[in-house]
Structure formats: structure tokens, C-alpha cells
């Protein structure tokens, strides 16, 4: 039986699954009485992270599971994503979204996804036990 403060979802590595994931996240956040703003921050981060996995983590065309876990712990909302794709640490970069741009030429189009995650989540971490990528995002309540 699933504990009320903990939710799990498994999807396939197919972009069409992103909509199901978002619906699941919003329903879980509603049950956890998470604010709408935080739920939308989480949805934005999850979309960027999982889309990256689906698009870039696999070297074959086989179906792969992507597992997600959402829980409330110590005044934080913690979202974890696990996949069996190639090793990739999305946070191995200093990029943030704190800069602004004066001209259109200053903007490098691309890389916004990871930067958005780093800006919206309070903590981001990556590890790779047992040949699995695990991304963990924490949002302070």
C-alpha cells in the first residue's frame, strides 16, 4: 500500500509519456497540499529532466523504464528520477539563469532546460549506482 506522502510512477522512454507524468505530478501535489506555484515549478523541472533522458540517454531503440518518486521529507518536496541510459550528470556545469541579455546576439539558444532546473529547484544532485542515473531535486516548502 502506497504511503500518502510518497508517490511513484514508471513511464517508458517515449515523449508522449510526458503528459501523463505531468498529470501524475499535479495530482500527487494536490494530495500533498503543495501550492500551485511549487507544483508548476516541479512540473517544469520534471519536463526538462525527463525529456532530456528520453531524447539523449539511449543508444538503442528499445523500450526503457524511467522511474519517478515524489515524497515529502523534512520540509522539502523531493523528486527523484531513475533511468538506465548512458551515464550523464546534467548538473556537472556552472550554468545558471541569473544572467540577463542586452541584445539578441548575446543569447545562446539551447541549454535552457538544465539551467531552468538549477534555477527552480533548491537542491539538485546526481549519482550513478548500479549503472543507473539518479537525479534528485529538492524544493523547500
Amino acid at each position: 500500500m502506497q504511503h500518502i506522502d510518497c508517490f511513484e510512477l514508471q513511464i517508458r522512454n517515449d515523449l508522449i509519456e510526458l503528459r501523463s507524468m505531468s498529470e501524475w505530478l499535479h495530482k500527487a501535489c494536490e494530495k500533498l497540499t503543495i501550492t500551485d506555484e511549487l507544483a508548476r515549478d516541479l512540473d517544469a523541472c520534471a519536463n526538462e529532466a525527463v525529456a532530456n533522458i528520453i531524447l539523449y540517454a539511449y543508444e538503442d531503440r528499445e523500450s526503457h523504464p524511467i522511474n519517478m518518486h515524489l515524497e515529502l521529507k523534512d520540509s522539502s518536496l523531493i523528486f527523484t528520477i531513475q533511468d538506465d541510459g548512458i551515464a550523464f550528470d546534467p548538473f556537472n556545469s556552472k550554468a545558471t539563469l541569473s544572467q540577463s541579455y542586452d541584445t539578441i546576439g548575446d543569447i545562446t539558444i539551447g541549454g535552457f532546460g538544465i539551467k531552468l532546473i538549477r534555477s527552480l529547484a533548491n537542491e539538485c544532485s546526481y549519482c550513478r549506482p548500479d549503472n543507473k542515473n539518479i537525479i534528485s531535486l529538492s524544493f523547500y516548502l
Partner: protein, 112 residues
Amino acid sequence: MEINCESLEGDIYKINLKGRMDIIGNADIDIKFSGMTALPRMFFIVDLSEVNFIASIGIRTLLLSTKAIHNRGGKIVILNPDIHVKKILLMAGIDMVLPIIDTLELAIAAMH
């Protein structure tokens, strides 16, 4: 996603987007958006009031057209985005090159 374009005074075009601008929704409108913002048109107001989510792929679509429009001396602004969409756009830091404006009157004034 849904997209349509209406012609306003002074050769200004208002592009109305509706729905979720994630990787799936963006695929619905990306090519149409590029076409609507192509030559010979120069001045654009992109109404995001009915877009309830934007992912980086959506920001990319907006910026690619913005670059092309700026390069030919045109103008483009964002009109009245949803509060969370606005938060994402501001975090991305693109408001200096793609102004975010709250009312249609001010958006039209920004074209001149």
C-alpha cells in the same frame, strides 16, 4: 496546441497561442509560428495569455523567430503571459530582447 494570427492596425500581427507549450505542444505550432513570423511581416505581438506551461523548447521557438525578426529590423513582444509562464521567461532572462507587456495597447505602442 492551437495557434492563429490576426492582423492589427499598422501592419502589426498578433499571434495567439493556446495550450501547453511543452515538447509535445510545441511540435504542433513550431513550423506554423516560424511561417507566421517570416517575411514580409515585421511587427509581432505574441499573446501567451492562454498558454499555461512553457518548456525550454517553447523558449527556443520564441527566440529563433525573435533573432530572425531582429536581424531584419522588425519587432516582437510577448503579451500578457500567465504568471508562471512569465516567471519562466524572466528566469530565462530573455525579457531584455523579447519584452513582456501586460496590455494590448502598450504592446501596440511598443511597435512604434
